[in-house]
């Protein structure tokens, strides 16, 4: 209602000629501040009572008074509970078993809570599937305390009450009932029996409810191929520990391929046991974790991979397939085929090619082999997205067929390749409600943003794999005025049950089959029969529907069976006819740290260095060296040690992503490039977190393989890359490597020699007491902690890095500081490339240097060794404080802030440290971290330690360090001490494995690469690991006698 009414505050305003009114409008202070009056008048200034001397006296007095007053300690309050909950004892941690199922990561975990606050995620060792938490799951606890979380429901940008939202939804639902318009639910993959049942019930009540499952990064091809073959939209499961030969075509199964979680079964087969270990051959374009761990890695563009796969199938099948491959690749394929034939059912083939033909062929190969590792009978449900349904929904939205849209767990306005279409469609939807924990691109355009619970505040259940269930229980009450999607659905459907009761009902009637609910909740996992939502549906109509479905299934099965037998041939021909478009072949992938980008506001994950490139706070396009030279792209280090790189503009099908920084990636297949998802988010994020570029617009047709053209753009990008030295330069004493053949046939002194040093011009073993200038102590009494790191089992996944972050209150320093190598990670995973094609060749080359210059001269030779080769071997090495028994850092500390404990730990007393940094300079392993700044309560470092909410994640047993203090890995002394104390209190010796499961990194290591324990404990695992032939110490010739030892990496190079 516009009116011409004039409002006035003062009568004077009515007079248009009043000058005062005008002045008042313009200036807040009408009069000028009389600075001149008391400073300009010199006479006045000199004649005043307070002269300069007096002024200084006053200043001096007040400073002295203030500093004297500061000597008084602050008054601290202690506020006990009014009624203390029975199971909470202040100072004692409680653990709850729960599950994460955010649509991308599915895992069964234990949550450590202190005084009711979840502070750490640990592995649930009772879980048969999904028991290993990856880096993102480990970091997910910090997202609970994200200060940018939605704190209550929002309607059109204004905070509202839930009652208002509920009323709007209920009236809309009532209006839409039996109308022609759809009620659409666009959600993440839940794999949740109770949610399935709930949505089925909703569909029974409203016939027009459509449930569309959407995965930001889908497995469309694999799902379709599996469905065509086995009649169920699911993913085959693999147990790599049962396999002697693993052949992968672009499947990063140690990363996030088909939901990930395969590293523990893979690592089991990779540790040489009685002379045997599995062999792993990887054909891939991008350098992935799996490729880095492979015994043989063949860089191929996706197109070539398809042909190679077709040829492999043909070879195994005794037929032939067309297509052209380079000679060496052809040879490799032939060799792999022979190996597969030998291994027969002990071989397994997997592929990550986003192509239904490739997936079909792989399923056929595994079935043909009768592969033991391949399991189609008990498939995984962790990806259920349906791209076609999503596209239909968007079309329906745009044509006005959708009356109400509910979104949960996904951010389509950010992650859809056709996000713009979605946004315009959303405007035509009568009611749009978006459930989200954070403000994001989708909540921004929706009518209602419903603040959703974090999974640690929610009830839920999940069926990760057929018959393998997990329960999700809240570990803290909702921090804000939030409500989870399922609870809201129940409310809107007028149910008087809460979601907990609903789940309990589902479980007791449909899953537990008589087993105890409380035990299932306590364990967090339950193994039982398959669940079907319709079984529980009392509605006879639905049962009838279900019966109809059942009738259909065998019919379609027949068709599919027939179709699949035909389709193999057509699939093969389709694969062999694969052609790349113009330009380069782009493979889009999820980065280990960021996944699909749903946790972009998590500073731990932003700061987590990528295992391969060691770059944090960024995504980038990975380019092979040859292509980079062709396009004029470069990477170089600048004076302060930072890595700089060129920019490119990437065009796919007319869609351009501008200014993508370039990383030249050794091992990248020539003609291919890679770009990771999950970055480039802008809405609802703090400025520091708005990193990288968004790759989703290039994810066209939900296919991760695209034909792209790269064009160099101007400018240089500053990376925060924390490892600048990429190769070992022949220093085989850092990472020792051997082949399985040598390992089996030769003495350990050949492939794991103990270094010699010169004593009186005599070569003497470094372990002999004469060369030692230190006095040795008797270390056989009491606990003596040691850590074993098996380079064969370590896949470089980085779960330990985040677990260490969480346990030890390690600060986040931000991109700028990371670039200056001021990262604070107590535990880093070094990644080394070989300069020649193997590390062995590096060593030989180095040994053969002769003189300074010349052909074999060390001057040029070292330069060459610095360059990683085109297809290098890769090795990962976790390095933390080595807790040297003869520690160089301890002797140089002028204030004795670092000293040695009898239990083998190198202690660091922060309150004693004065920050000379001598210790860091004297440390041969470079594991000490200096607090250059105050990283908490400092607006310059506006991460979780700068707000009260984020500080709730801190471990109360570990000090938060201040500026000017050195810190480093403590072997989790707070945890080992707690174990000892528990044993003392209970009057018993420390139990087996107790230390291993207490220390953050070894407890987080699901692949078993890091083991921790007391070597003085009789029959302990760590003692036998130390005696192992493969054990060696890092830089042993320095004579530091570390308490961390590594196990020589063994590669299975046996071709047959």
């Amino acid at each position: 209602m516009a009116s011409n009414k004039k409002y006035w505050k003062n009568e004077a305003e009515l007079n248009p000629n009043d000058s005062i009114v005008e002045t008042l409008r313009q200036n807040e202070f009408v009069e000028d501040i009389p600075v001149d009056e008391f400073l300009g008048d010199k006479e006045n200034l000199s004649s005043t009572n307070t002269n300069r001397r007096d002024f200084l006296k006053y200043v001096g007095f007040s400073t002295a008074a203030a500093s004297l007053a500061a000597c008084q300690g602050p008054v601290r309050k202690s506020i006990p509970y009014v009624v203390q909950p029975e199971n909470i004892v202040p100072g004692v941690a409680n653990y709850y078993a729960t599950s994460i199922a955010d649509g991308f990561d599915f895992a069964s975990v234990l949550i450590k809570t202190r005084e009711g606050r979840p502070i750490k995620v640990e592995n649930n060792r009772d879980a048969l599937v999904g028991g290993g938490a990856n880096a993102r799951v480990n970091a997910s606890v910090l997202s609970l305390y994200d200060s940018t979380r939605l704190q209550g429901p929002v309607a059109n940008g204004e905070p509202v009450d839930w009652s208002a939202l509920d009323a709007a939804v209920k009236s809309k639902l009532a209006a839409l009932k039996n109308s022609g318009q759809q009620i659409a639910l666009l959600t993440q993959t839940y794999a949740s029996p109770s949610t399935d049942r709930l949505i089925a019930e909703m569909q029974a009540e409203y016939s027009n409810v459509k449930h569309i499952v959407y995965d930001a990064i889908g497995e469309e091809a694999a799902l379709a191929a599996f469905e065509a073959k086995f009649g169920e939209r699911a993913l085959a499961d693999y147990d790599f520990s049962k396999s002697d030969l693993i052949v992968s075509f672009g499947a990063d199964f140690l990363g996030d391929w088909q939901g990930g979680g395969y590293d523990s079964s893979y690592a089991k087969g990779r540790v040489p046991n009685k002379g045997k270990m599995s062999r792993h051959v990887q054909f891939e374009a991008n350098m992935t974790l799996s490729g880095a761990n492979a015994d043989k890695r063949i860089p191929l563009t996706p197109m070539q991979q398809k042909i190679a796969l077709a040829k492999l199938y043909a070879k195994l099948n005794g037929t032939s397939a067309g297509g052209e491959l380079p000679e060496n690749v052809q040879a490799a394929v032939d060799s792999v085929a022979t190996q597969i034939r030998t291994a027969a059912s002990n071989a397994v083939v997997v592929t990550g090619l986003d192509d239904v033909n490739a997936q079909t062929v792989v399923l056929a190969i595994n079935e043909m082999l009768g592969s033991k590792a391949f399991d189609a009978a008990v498939p995984k449900y962790t990806r259920q997205g349906n791209a076609e349904a999503v596209n239909t929904l968007i079309a329906d939205m745009n044509s006005g067929k959708v009356g109400a849209l509910f979104v949960d767990g996904v951010n389509p306005a950010y992650s859809l390749p056709n996000a713009a279409e979605f946004v315009t469609g959303l405007e035509k939807v009568g009611l749009s409600v978006v459930f989200s924990t954070n403000w994001n691109e989708t909540t921004e355009v929706a009518q209602f943003a419903a603040a959703s619970n974090h999974y640690l505040e929610s009830w839920g259940d999940v069926q990760i794999k057929k018959g393998h269930y997990g329960l999700m229980q809240p570990t803290i009450r909702e921090l804000f005025d939030t409500r989870q999607f399922q609870a809201s659905l129940l409310k809107w459907m007028g149910s008087d049950k809460n979601y907990y009761e609903y789940i309990k009902d589902t479980w007791t009637n449909g899953i537990l089959n008589g087993a105890d609910w409380n035990k299932a909740l306590h364990d967090g996992v339950f193994v039982g029969g398959a669940f079907s939502a319709s079984v529980l549906n009392a509605d006879p109509e639905n049962v009838a529907d279900d019966a109809d479905d059942k009738e259909e299934v065998p019919a379609s099965d027949n068709v599919v069976a027939a179709a699949s037998s035909i389709s193999i041939a057509s699939a093969i021909s389709a694969l062999t006819n694969a052609t790349s478009g113009e330009g380069l072949e782009l493979t889009l992938y999820p980065k280990t740290g960021m996944g699909n980008g749903s946790m972009a506001s998590n500073p731990w994950l932003q700061e987590f260095p990528d295992p391969i490139t060691r770059v944090s706070w960024d995504n980038y396009v990975t380019v092979s060296k040859a292509d980079a030279e062709r396009l004029g792209l470069e990477n170089y280090n600048v004076a302060n040690g930072g890595l700089d790189g060129s920019y490119v503009n990437i065009t796919v099908n007319g869609v351009i992503v501008n200014n993508v920084p370039v990383i030249i990636q050794p091992g990248q297949a020539i003609g291919s490039v890679g770009l990771s998802f999950g970055y480039g988010k802008k809405v609802g994020l703090k400025e520091e977190m708005q990193t990288g570029v968004n790759a989703y617009p290039l994810y066209q047709g939900f296919n991760n393989i695209q034909a792209a053209t790269l064009e160099k753009a101007s400018g240089t990008h500053e990376f925060a890359c924390i490892q600048l030295h990429n190769t070992l330069m022949g220093r085989g004493d850092i990472i020792k490597e051997t082949t399985l053949e040598e390992f089996n046939t030769k003495e350990s002194s050949e492939w794991n020699p103990i270094p010699h040093v010169s004593l009186n011009h005599q070569e003497t073993l470094v372990t002999s007491p004469e060369v030692d200038i230190w006095e040795s102590f008797d270390r056989s009494i009491g606990h003596h902690f040691k850590m074993s790191i098996d380079l064969n089992a370590c896949t470089g996944c980085g779960a330990c890095v985040i677990a260490c972050h969480a346990e030890n209150n390690v600060p986040v320093v931000g991109k700028k500081e990371m670039r200056l190598s001021r990262d604070m990670h107590w535990l880093r995973i070094d990644r080394y490339y070989s300069s020649e094609s193997t590390f062995e060749e590096d060593n030989i080359k180095k040994d053969e240097f002769d003189g300074l210059s010349g052909d074999n001269g060390s001057l040029g030779g070292f330069g060459e060794l610095e360059d990683p080769s085109v297809n290098p071997q890769v090795a990962f090495q976790p390095v933390m404080c080595q807790h040297c028994n003869h520690a160089p850092c301890e002797t140089v500390c002028p204030v004795a802030a670092t000293s040695h404990g009898r239990q083998g730990q190198n202690h660091m007393a922060y309150n004693r440290c004065v920050g000379t940094r001598y210790c860091a300079n004297n440390c041969p392993y470079k594991v000490r971290r200096f607090n250059w700044f105050l990283y908490n309560n400092n607006d310059e470092f506006d991460f979780h330690m700068n707000n009260d909410l984020g500080k709730m994640v801190l471990n109360p047993d570990v000090v938060v360090r201040s500026r000017g203090v050195m810190e480093k890995c403590s072997f989790c002394i707070q945890a080992t001490q707690a174990v000892v104390l528990n044993a003392k209190r209970e009057g018993r010796p420390v139990a087996e494995g107790e230390f291993n499961n207490a220390v953050a990194c070894s407890a987080a290591c699901s692949s078993g690469a890091i083991k921790f324990g007391d070597v003085n404990e009789e029959g302990s695992e760590i003692a036998s690991l130390e005696e192992d032939d493969r054990a060696y110490h890092l830089l042993e010739h320095v004579g530091t006698k570390p308490n961390v030892f590594y196990h020589v990496k063994v590669r299975n190079t046996n071709e047959v």
Binding site: G73, I79, P80, H907, Y910, R985
Partner: protein, 454 residues
């Protein structure tokens, strides 16, 4: 106030007059409410004939006091004149009471109207059956509820009075003694002056001449001091050393709050609870057994006892007021307010106000201390660090809580290994190594930095 003895005859007279008026007025009231007075008189009479109130009191305290008081509701109803009340209001006789006390659940089950009424009124908290009480016992109890034996208030008064009088008396006598002493000294001074003058006069009379000493020009003392460089040097050194000593002493106490005794939001007396009532420390500070924190008890722990203990005894109350200027009953009221306890209806309102205690023992953040290690494993008594808590009305920090203090104890204290399997192996080995029978905490590694700082 009434306990103060009337010393002045006038006030005595006044008191007697007031008493007289009071007597008259009560009799007037008595006449007005003659009918009302009738029943208590009856019960009194009955009590005197039927039971022994003194024996009844003992029985009451043994069996009933946990849930009943005479004049206020607790878990169960107030019991003063219960028999008369029942007879009057409900028409129930003593037989009913016998059966109720001996088997209350049975009566509720049998459907007795009043039994069910009272059961429902008191939150369906069933009264324990007392089949062991004989009718005589019940008679005695009822006699007590009808006419509780006179409290030894008189005794208290008489006890308190001499105390008070003695207190003030000793105050006066001290002053008197001091005054007298001052007087004596003054007299002595005067006498000395007088004697001196007299002697002088005698001397003058005897012709002794006092020669005034000539003021010889001598070097002033300060100048002599300044000239003597050695002396200056020595005294400067002494001065510097002295000030350094005091400065050091002052600086070493910065951050040490030994004797810190803050005022707490509720005046909680450890002297009464731990001292007089001998409540085990770990009853309230239970987490000291298992946790790093000793734990300030949550208020529900207080209510375990204070649900029944709503006031302190008169002696305690008087003592609190006199010695510490605090009304303990008011402090209990504060607890009720904080925990949301409705005294009137004997239920929780849910309206809570958590108590903000002032923390007394503050270790710096960079040190890790675990109570359970010391309390449960080592068996250290709380008092060893916290001092005689059971004598403290207001808790103060007893120990300095400095690192030196920790270390000293670790050096001197033997590890308690008896019956603890954890120590078996390590103790054998270590005691052989050090050649001692008993190991100190220091020998176990209790002096290492990382054991407390991480």
């Amino acid at each position: 106030m009434k306990k103060v003895p009337y010393l002045h005859p006038f006030s005595k007279i006044l008191g007697v007059t007031v008493l007289f008026f009071l007597l008259i007025s009560t009799s007037i009231y008595a006449q007005d409410e003659a009918s009302a007075e009738a029943s208590p008189e009856q019960t009194e009479a009955a009590a005197e004939t039927d039971g022994d109130p003194a024996a009844g009191k003992t029985l009451f305290n043994q069996n009933c006091a946990a849930c009943h008081a005479l004049d206020r509701k607790m878990t169960g109803p107030a019991l003063a004149n219960v028999e008369a009340r029942l007879a009057e209001d409900e028409g129930l006789d003593r037989e009913w009471l016998y059966s109720w006390i001996k088997n209350s659940p049975g009566m509720i089950a049998s459907g007795d109207a009043y039994a069910n009424k009272i059961y429902n009124e008191y939150n369906q908290a069933a009264m324990t059956a007392f089949p062991t009480l004989s009718n005589t016992d019940i008679d005695n109890i009822l006699a007590y509820t009808a006419a509780p034996p006179k409290k030894p208030a008189v005794a208290a008064t008489s006890e308190a009075a001499p105390g008070a009088a003695g207190g003030s008396g000793s105050g006066v006598s001290n002053n008197v003694i001091l005054g007298a002493l001052a007087l004596v000294f003054a007299l002595l001074v005067v006498m000395l002056v007088l004697v001196n003058r007299t002697l002088k006069r005698i001397a003058e009379a005897n012709g002794v001449v006092f020669v005034e000493e000539e003021a010889v020009k001598r070097k002033p003392l300060w100048k002599a001091f300044v000239d003597n460089q050695f002396l200056v040097l020595v005294s400067v050194i002494v001065l510097l050393l002295g000030s350094a000593y005091f400065a050091y002493g002052w600086m070493m106490q910065v951050g040490i709050d030994q004797g810190y005794e803050p005022i707490q939001p509720i005046h909680y007396s450890h002297r009464i609870h731990a001292g007089e009532n001998k409540i085990e420390c770990k009853y309230c500070h239970s987490s000291a057994r298992v946790s790093k924190h000793s734990g300030i008890p949550s208020l529900n722990v207080c209510m375990n006892c204070h649900k029944s203990i709503y006031q302190v005894s008169e002696e305690t109350l008087a003592e609190g007021k006199q010695e510490y200027g605090v009304d303990y009953n008011q402090e209990i009221k504060k607890l009720y307010a904080a925990v949301g306890w409705d005294e009137e209806n004997q239920r929780y309102t849910g309206n809570t106000k958590p108590v903000e205690w002032v923390r007394i023992h503050n270790l710096p953040d960079f040190v890790y201390f675990n109570h359970s290690q010391h309390v449960t494993v080592a068996g250290v008594q709380c008092q060893e660090c916290h001092g005689p808590i059971e004598e403290m009305e207001i808790v103060s920090q007893h120990s300095p809580l400095t690192m030196g203090w920790c270390i000293n104890c670790h050096r001197e204290t033997n590890v308690k290994i008896e019956g603890n399997e954890y120590y078996e192996k390590i103790h054998d080995e270590l005691s052989k190594k050090y050649g001692v029978e008993k190991l100190t905490a220091a020998q176990m590694g209790g002096l290492e930095c990382g054991k407390c700082h991480y």
